[in-house]
Symmetry: C2
Subunit: 399 residues, 2 copies
């Protein structure tokens, strides 16, 4: 069973370096106006020129990360800097909040209602600061991070449609992302703030949104962490919980917390068993914990990020705990994923499959899919598979 980890690692590495990254290098840069095109059809042609801050930031992050962690290639750094310069000039409103989207030439289209724009901006400029040492990038990252902390009590500000007091709910996404973001920009932050943010994040994910009775993570709870029997309260987003588990595993690695590691691995397996589509394979996008019809019409679709994030958690879970169930599930999710998402004809991955596993949209990038989950996931899986090979093939080379 342990044979082949190096071969698996090669699959992820080669897809990253010989297919996915060249695809974005070739089709994504807007050489005239700066920033990136992310709305790319199956063959890489631009079908829309709007610039979504989430995706601009995530692409800056991606090329900076490759430069920092894989190889100091000048073209990767140049690619990151050209996106960052566009963002630095056009991305923020007068209060330093990040817009949601811009026109091709940088005029704001959608206001700063979405705090995840800010999260991905902090990630991007933090990673680029590490690559360049340029203090302006570092300052943007820290300013943005503190602004997120300031806004986190009411992230949507005036755009919040929830009537105050009747049914206050807290959402999983921001605390989950903060668990990852704080490690991304750790060198820029005060040590105590890092520790406090991490322990608060772990507590929130593993004790507030995680529900012991079902072994699942809720997308929304009451402020006290209780279940709310409402559309939002019943919502399960298996991919979100599965992605969060490798963030938690990274935090557990950092402090060598084996109990936390095992808990995150168990939750990974549990969410996956719950979210797997026994009829057609793949992981559902949304489910209702009481089995009621979800309000999300896309509930049964199979999304790229859900599957690659799951593979990361399974591999990290296996690396750190050796649980053979992680390996069984890895092979199952790997096979499902690699036979459907990657597009050998034109490169990169399809993003959206229908329940049956056929492409629902032919795009390689759009309003929500950019140069992020696929390359980050390929990098994480490649590295983790190498580490597994080193750890387990040394122990039992013949098995």
């Amino acid at each position: 069973m342990t044979a082949g980890f190096k071969e698996y690692a090669d699959v992820y590495r080669k897809n990253l370096l010989e297919d996915v990254i060249p695809f974005w290098m070739k089709y994504s840069p807007d050489k005239e106006q700066g920033g990136y095109f992310t709305c790319l059809d199956r063959a890489g042609n631009v079908f829309d020129t709007d610039k979504f801050i989430w995706l601009q930031c995530r692409e800056v992050w991606c090329f900076s990360m490759l430069y920092n962690k894989v190889e100091q290639q000048q073209e990767w750094l140049d690619m990151a800097i050209q996106g960052a310069d566009f963002l630095r000039k056009h991305g923020r409103d007068k209060d330093g909040n990040w817009y949601f989207s811009l026109t091709r030439n940088g005029a704001p289209i959608i206001e700063a209602y979405n705090i995840f724009s800010d999260c991905f901006a902090a990630m991007a400029f933090g990673q680029l600061f590490q690559a360049t040492g340029n203090p302006e990038y570092g300052q943007i990252a820290t300013d943005t991070f503190f602004n997120i902390l300031k806004r986190q009590g009411n992230p949507k500000g005036r755009f919040n449609k929830v009537f105050p007091g009747t049914r206050p709910l807290q959402n999983f996404a921001l605390p989950m992302i903060l668990c990852n973001l704080v490690l991304e920009i750790e060198p820029l932050l005060d040590k105590q703030l890092v520790e406090d943010t991490i322990s608060h994040g772990i507590h929130t994910v593993m004790e507030v949104f995680y529900q012991q009775d079902t072994g699942l993570i809720l997308e929304n709870t009451t402020p006290e962490g209780q279940f709310s029997d409402s559309f939002d309260g019943r919502l399960i987003n298996p991919g979100h919980g599965l992605e969060a588990m490798w963030f938690i595993m990274d935090l557990a690695t950092r402090t060598n917390d084996q109990s936390l590691m095992h808990k995150a691995k168990d939750i990974t397996l549990n969410i996956l068993e719950y979210g797997w589509d026994e009829e057609h394979g793949g992981i559902f996008y949304f489910l209702d914990i009481k089995g009621a019809p979800p309000q999300q019409l896309e509930w049964d679709q199979k999304l790229w990020w859900v599957h690659i994030e799951t593979i990361i958690s399974l591999l990290k879970g296996y690396l750190h705990t050796g649980d053979p169930k992680c390996l069984e599930w890895f092979k199952k999710v790997h096979d499902y994923t690699w036979s459907r998402f990657p597009d050998p004809k034109y490169g990169e991955w399809f993003g959206y499959l229908n329940r049956q596993g056929q492409p629902l949209l032919p795009l390689k990038g759009g309003k929500w899919k950019g140069c992020f989950h696929v390359p980050r996931g390929l990098y994480q899986c490649w590295q983790t598979l190498e580490a597994i090979a080193a750890k387990y093939e040394v122990l039992s080379p013949q098995s």
Copy 2:
């Protein structure tokens, strides 16, 4: 070809009076707290108790309309009044704007960001005023109507996320609904205001959003009625355009405008040819006019309201113009619809089918589907089929 209109009329009438209306009468009233349950599973069981203003209003409208137009059944009137009383007590904020949703006992959950709540409230109270003569209901209808006119320049108010000035777009839904609403509450309005609203509505639908070059109706245009090459600007919602065409036909009937009638019939046929799924049958939910991937992940689904509204427009088009293409398409859409949406086992209709035509969600009612499109459509088709039978079977009884 003309034989059988009476039989078709019977199908629609019987489904309305013996299946759909009894379903809502039985499962929908909240006898303890007032108003209606609309989140009903396949068998009619309540799976969520939230009260969505759109659907509360539409159900008041539906039972008032049946009372006014089909038969003065006291239980229908009682049903309408119990919903209206709940709405009158709990539905509005201090400025008279209608909330989006309430808890079971009437506490506001989602603020009044959605002007369509107000549109359906005006329809509901206008129709109930006609049924009862109660001036309080009439006053609520007119107050709400004038508030809509006041808000129509910026319907979302402070919740509007669009940055001012960069890419202002106007949306089709409100002018389209006003074309129907003004006839609904005509007895309550000044004659000149009715005429002005109608002629403005016809102009906006048929000359601004309708695009002569493609024969299609855009969901969003620039303020000057021009095409915007953006996700919103490229969006086609075939069901919206198809529904709007019978509103326009009703206005053309009112003024005996044959040229407008023919134009609305031609647009109906054109949108339908464009929106029909040649591979699996049925009408797509969303398309991109340039063939780019739409941002709506539910784009390929087949929705109940799209299909029943289309049948209304085809039948009205046939009644008033005699174009045999309306009849051909009627038979095709009728067959698709009746073999998939109605649920003979538990009653009422499925709302959401996947592209292949299988139920995507088992619900009979939810956050957006209530007691409205199915019964209104069944009533409209029944009446129109009777009128077709009277008109054409008299002319050529043997054919």
